[in-house]
């Protein structure tokens, strides 16, 4: 038993692999491991990674877990049967949706289905108006009738896992009826979990709020089972091991807290990658970053400005099905190693969004796939090592890759290598576009940002993407393929609260604003304590505002601790300024509407201490390999093992660096250097 160790551990449960990164805070020793995921028993894979990293001996102090299970449950639509209770007359809100369609010119497109059946939408006689006043009371007789209806549903659906979602009109202004209904029903049916819309998402717009509360109810049992299964595994490690779950907002929280807010964990897996990338950027003093996490089927991008990951309050994982909850602003596009290249009817080369997935996978996996993928193109170009994929755990078949790419080459009337190069170019342009969308769309010039390349395939394409976007620096983290697990390891505690309350600059006082924030901060503080944070947290407050008549808001930060008339005036003035800066004009005498109040509380975790790279003399390349370069064709270029690099190593492209979970392709003319912690910077 190692009594002197204090191990912090981050584990990411992905669809195919469960990854672990652990750091011993006493010795600085870093361990990593990978184990196939088991969706039915996630605890088993966690047991697996812990054993593989020799960490099953009780030396672990804390574990943070990230998971894509919630998201997968939604994607596969395997969750609880939800009974949806809403104001009578509005039972169809989830089916009417917003009336718009995804494609302008398609008879084929079908509206997305909500996570509830129409026959399970139950109207309740009650009504609150736009001022929060009760127009129709929710009476005892109606409560009794609703309970009876639910009773008969219970009989009808006996044996199924059931949960209840409630969304009454204007409940974000006056929650009395939602609370009353829950109190009544939980006495009658204590076994059925109930989600209330004003708690899950206290925002206006009934469709978005209803959709969110239904998703919350839908994933509840999945998360519950996950927590039970994982809890049993972790408890075996010893009583003192603290374990928390990664949230979609980039924070993490005690299992008992997230159990009550399933909606907060649906993007748990995505946020880990962005946080990991931000950490490594900071290690090489880069605080303005674009993060790119490219794996087998998808590529996630996010933007970090002045060391801060931007946050959004709205996410659509399926077009037209919104979820309103705090999320790190990570966008995902269908571009990964497995993305399939094809030629459209007009003769243009396209890559993705269809993917060969993990099975059959790219043609070179030799599992029956015949479509050419990005991975196949990389293999044809000599950028990947057929014998060292996943550290040699998986042999790639170069012949199959060539055959697959050749099919396309014949159609495009190009040679095989030029076709492979074109596939890579198109894929990289798609990702470059995704970067422009998250930056240029918001008025940010990505050329002043550094690109952090994560995921198994990120470092392979980083140079190409950076060139296309016009970026000058690339950061490659340690173990780029395990960046999500790294992120969970270093995530802070974080609670975000949003409240829709409508005021106008003409009828609001500093006292009212102060009161709204006081209530919100108090509740957020209670929550962050319950999540397990002990220290002094950082509190931030914003008001979302717009000119009367506009429809989209800008957030203005509250700066003074106490909100008085002077501070309120400053907030309004700052709004005019922001509007001018973003859109080139402001309207000084216009009424400003206050739409929404936001509070964010962050509890910092202690800094992580990574070990230094060993000193010594650098080793040369392990071999040379034929690699294709556009305009030059195939020639032998040096291949390095990343493990043999030392502090201060400098390499010039073209070169390839291989490690177990990733490959770096250094373009001609680019310069690579290694810092003390082993983090790589590439200069273009």
């Amino acid at each position: 038993m190692q009594t002197k160790s204090r191990v912090r551990c981050g584990i990411d449960t992905g669809g195919t692999f469960t990854d672990l990164v652990a750091v011993d805070e006493m010795t600085g020793r870093l361990s990593v491991s990978k184990f196939p995921s088991n969706p039915k028993h996630p605890g088993q894979a966690i047991d697996g990674v812990l054993k593989e990293a020799n960490l099953s001996d009780g030396s672990i102090e804390s574990v943070v877990l990230g998971t894509t299970l919630g998201l997968n449950a939604l994607l596969e639509r395997k969750g609880s049967r939800v009974l949806f209770l809403t104001t009578r007359g509005f039972e169809d809100v989830l089916f009417i949706q917003r009336m718009n369609r995804r494609y302008h010119y398609s008879f084929k497109w079908m509206k997305p289905s909500p996570f509830v059946e129409r026959c399970d939408c139950i109207g309740v006689e009650e009504r609150i108006n736009a001022r929060g006043q009760i127009l129709t009371s929710l009476c005892e007789k109606e409560l009794e009738r609703v309970a009876e209806t639910i009773g008969s549903k219970l009989t009808e659906y006996s044996g199924e896992s059931l949960s209840i979602a409630v969304c009454f009109l204007f409940s974000y202004l006056n929650p009395a009826h939602e609370l009353l209904l829950k109190a009544f029903l939980s006495k009658r049916y204590p076994q059925i979990p109930i989600s209330l819309s004003h708690i899950v998402a206290p925002i206006w717009r009934e469709y978005e709020r209803s959709s969110t509360v239904v998703v919350d109810a839908f994933v509840r049992p999945i998360l519950d089972d996950y927590l039970k299964d994982v809890g049993a595994t972790i408890r075996k490690l010893g009583r003192t091991t603290r374990w928390t779950i990664m949230k979609s907002n980039g924070g993490h929280a005690d299992a008992e807290v997230v159990r009550e807010q399933p909606i907060c964990t649906v993007l748990s897996g995505l946020s880990g990658g962005a946080i990991g990338a931000k950490y490594f950027g900071a290690l090489v003093n880069e605080t303005n970053l674009v993060t790119l996490d490219m794996g087998g089927t998808s590529c996630d991008v996010s933007l970090i400005q002045d060391g801060t990951l931007s946050q959004v309050s709205h996410y659509e994982f399926d077009w037209g099905i919104p979820i309103s909850a705090p999320f790190l602003d990570v966008s995902s596009l269908g571009a990964g190693g497995g993305s399939i290249a094809w030629v459209d009817k007009g003769g243009f080369l396209k890559v993705g969004p269809q993917s060969a997935g993990a099975s059959p996978g790219p043609a070179c996996y030799d599992q029956g796939g015949t479509n050419p993928t990005v991975t196949d193109a990389n293999l044809v170009l000599g950028r990947l090592n057929a014998g060292y994929f996943l550290g040699g755990k998986m042999k790639l078949n170069a012949q199959r890759a060539k055959e697959a790419v050749q099919q396309l080459a014949t159609r495009l009337r190009l040679d095989c290598a030029a076709t492979a190069q074109a596939i890579v170019d198109v894929a990289e342009e798609n990702m470059a576009n995704a970067i422009r969308v998250i930056s240029v769309d918001r008025g940010i010039d990505p050329r002043n940002y550094a690109l952090v390349a994560c995921g198994g395939a990120g470092p392979l394409h980083a140079c190409g993407i950076a060139e296309k976007v016009g970026m000058h620096r690339i950061v490659v983290p340690l173990h780029p393929g395990l960046c999500s697990a790294f992120g969970t390891l270093i995530a802070d505690f974080k609670v975000d609260k949003t409240l829709s309350q409508y005021f106008r600059s003409t009828n609001v006082s500093a006292r009212i604003v102060a009161k709204v924030f006081r209530t919100m901060v108090e509740s957020a503080l209670r929550e962050v304590r319950a999540e397990g944070y002990q220290g002094k947290p950082k509190i931030e407050r914003w008001v979302s505002m717009r000119y009367a008549g506009q429809n989209y808001e800008h957030d203005v930060r509250v700066e003074a601790v106490a909100i008085d008339t002077k501070e309120l005036r400053r907030i309004f003035e700052h709004f005019h300024l922001l509007h001018k800066r973003f859109y080139g004009y402001s309207i000084g005498d216009e009424i400003i509407e206050l739409i929404c109040f936001k509070v964010s509380i962050v509890g910092k975790r202690p800094q992580l201490r990574l070990p230094d790279l060993p000193r010594g003399t650098p080793k040369g390349p392990k071999l040379k390999r034929e690699v294709y370069l556009p305009g030059k064709g195939f020639a032998a270029y040096p291949i390095y093992n990343r493990d043999t690099l030392i502090t201060g190593s400098i390499l010039k492209g073209p070169a390839i660096l291989e490690e177990k979970d990733s490959t770096i392709f250094l373009h001609p003319g680019h310069k690579l250097s290694v810092n003390r912690k082993g983090v790589i910077t590439i200069t273009l």
Binding site: G89, F90, E91, D92, F95, I96, Q97, R98, M99, N100, R101, Y103, H104, Y105, S106, F107, K108, W109, M110, K111, E117, R118, C119, R127, N129, A130, L169, F170, W204, R205, E206, Y207, E208, D344, K345, G346, G347, F348, L349, K350, A422, D425, V426, E429, N433, R436, V440, D441, Y502, Y547, G549, Q550, N551, Y552, F582, Y583, G584, Y585, I587, E590
Partner: protein
């Protein structure tokens, strides 16, 4: 910065095409976030386009499909009318003239030339629906207008910004003719702001590729789209296909107004001949030529590949023939505000009906094809401020050869979102008593149509002035290949204290029950708006028992209706 001298290959073309579309999308985002009217920011009723200096549309992100016609023509005609020499760096031209390429008067286009090295290289334009432009009815939707002068302020192409400076006199004229000038000011600035965004992005694209290379790429992209569209049309069997439909009335008289089409498919080309349609109507249901063209294009796009880049090239093989002075090509001073919302989807549906005879598997039965335009305004009792609002509904879509029609969708000419009840009631003095799908409103068939919606509103202000422009209350969305028609639309009203609802003609003695302006409602009055259902596809007898039973279980159809329409017995 690299200067390209070579000819663009197919990979570069893909990349440039994406870049152009992305610029248009960025324009849209900027527009949505800064605009004032809900019609922009909730409904997204605008389109962003890039043109070559020759007036060819080369990139576009239409947020609202109806504008694909005006985008095509209005820019080209404006350039022809003003002449290329008129344009100087920093200019912005504004234009909403329905006789010069706009869909109807509320649609305003701003156009800016993009110069590099003192040479005009591109135009960027943005077409958007300005909510209030004056005229006889608040909300500028005059359902009983007989002349353009009643519909609001008409602007031929005029510079509102000249070499970067506001042309103050023009702005004064515009803002003193709109009822809510502050909104107009904000919306127009949002539009101009989006042009600046696009100009900057185009300039960096020009620098990256060089002007010559981009000009070559533009030509190749136009040809590429044309080639692809020709291949798609070639797959449609040759023939002459006829179809027709009518507008139930024009708001002035009570007779139907007919739209008659002869669609000629010949090899790689389509000719849509509308010349047998009725003469121009007195009321505002006349379509401008560009509306008829846009509706025709829209139908063709529905039966061809979704991925064809939508530039001018893809419309080269489609010709639209109309008689000036007819319901499908209004002549000055005819009224046209409803032509863009009501007649447009009717025209589109007629083209689809004609195409259904050629490519049945690619088409759909008729949709509701009315926006159920309902306009209101007044003094808000709580703020004491003047407000107007343009409200519209979704309708049932037609069924297809593969599936049931979607329920409660924006009609095909737009792609607008509904206004949430919680937003609506926060802004306007109504309480919504119900918003639901209408049971039994779908046309029966092997696949059934989509359902329409039902909305019941209670007035909570002392006075609200309302106007309406509906269609398909006496006609219906037709079924295809034995499918039944969908249910018709309804617009009903009940005075406070009354027990039953009646039409506006019955209660307020309006000339038309569904096309009228300026009726005053009082506190306690109620309005019911019911949108039409979509038509069915294939005979009802072919519908599977499982599908019928599932519809009964989910409450989409009653047992009685199932028995009647499908002969269903439990």
């Amino acid at each position: 910065m690299k200067r390209r001298k070579d000819k663009p290959d197919s990979v570069s073309l893909t990349i440039i095409n994406n870049a152009l579309v992305n610029i248009c999308r960025e324009m849209g985002t900027s527009m949505m976030r800064t605009s004032y009217s809900p019609i922009f920011n909730e409904a997204l009723d605008f389109s962003c386009v890039i043109f070559t200096a020759e007036g060819e549309m080369i990139g576009q992100a239409e947020f609202c499909p109806t504008m694909i016609g005006s985008a095509q023509y209005a820019v080209k005609w404006t350039i022809e009318e003003l002449g290329l020499d008129t344009f100087e760096p920093g200019d912005v031209v504004l234009h909403n003239d329905p006789y010069r390429g706009q869909c109807h008067m509320p649609e305003h286009m701003v156009l800016k030339p993009v110069f590099l090295d003192n040479k005009l290289r591109f135009f960027v334009a943005n077409i958007a629906h300005i909510g209030e432009i004056g005229g006889i009815a608040p909300g500028s939707f005059a359902a009983d207008a007989t002349e353009v002068y009643q519909e609001g302020l008409r602007l031929p192409p005029v510079k509102i910004i000249s070499r970067g400076e506001h042309v103050k006199d023009i702005w004064k004229i515009i803002l003193s003719n709109h009822r809510t000038p502050k909104s107009s000011w904000g919306d127009l600035h949002a539009m101009v702001g989006s042009l600046n965004v696009a100009e900057n992005r185009l300039l960096s694209l020009l620098q990256k590729y060089s002007a010559g290379y981009l000009a070559d790429a533009s030509k190749l992209l136009l040809d590429y789209s044309e080639r692809w569209m020709r291949a798609e049309i070639a797959a449609i069997p040759n023939g002459v296909y006829e179809a027709h439909d009518c507008m139930e009335d024009d708001g002035i008289g009570s007779n139907p107004v007919w739209l008659r089409l002869k669609l000629i498919v010949k090899d790689e080309e389509i000719i849509a001949d509308w010349r047998d349609s009725d003469p121009q109507a007195r009321g505002p249901i006349n379509a401008t030529f560009v509306v008829t063209a846009a509706a025709t294009y829209s139908a063709v796009l529905h039966v061809t590949d979704l991925n064809i880049p939508r530039n001018s090239g893809c419309f080269r093989p489609v010709r639209v023939l109309t008689e000036p002075g007819s319901v499908v090509n209004v002549r000055h001073p005819g009224a046209s505000v409803g032509g863009n919302t009501e007649t447009h989807p009717h025209i589109q549906n007629v083209v689809v009906a004609a195409l259904s005879k050629a490519v049945p598997e690619k088409t759909a039965a008729a949709e509701g094809a009315t926006a159920c335009n309902f306009l209101f305004g007044g003094i808000h009792p709580e703020t004491g401020e003047y407000y107007t609002n343009y409200h519209f509904e979704g309708c049932g879509w037609g069924a297809t050869a593969e599936h049931d029609g979607n329920s409660v969708m924006c009609p095909v000419n737009g792609n607008c979102r509904n206004t949430p009840i919680e937003v609506f009631e926060t802004k306007y003095p109504f309480v919504t008593l119900e918003y639901s799908m209408v049971k039994d409103s779908a046309g029966a068939g092997r696949y059934r149509g989509g359902m329409g919606s039902y909305r019941r509103l209670l007035v909570t202000a002392p006075e609200i002035t309302v106007s309406a422009l509906f269609d398909r209350t006496r006609t219906a969305a037709w079924g295809l290949f034995g499918g039944s028609n969908g249910a018709s639309a309804k617009l009903l009203v009940k005075r406070r204290g009354q027990t039953s609802f009646g039409t506006f003609a019955e209660v307020f003695h309006t000339a038309s029950a569904t096309k009228f302006t300026r009726v005053i409602l009082h506190e306690g009055d109620e309005v019911i708006i019911q949108s039409p259902g979509g038509g069915g596809y294939g005979t009802p007898g072919e519908r599977s028992i499982t599908a019928i039973e599932e519809d009964i279980r989910q409450g989409y159809i009653s047992r009685e209706a199932a028995k009647q329409a499908y002969g269903y017995k439990a």
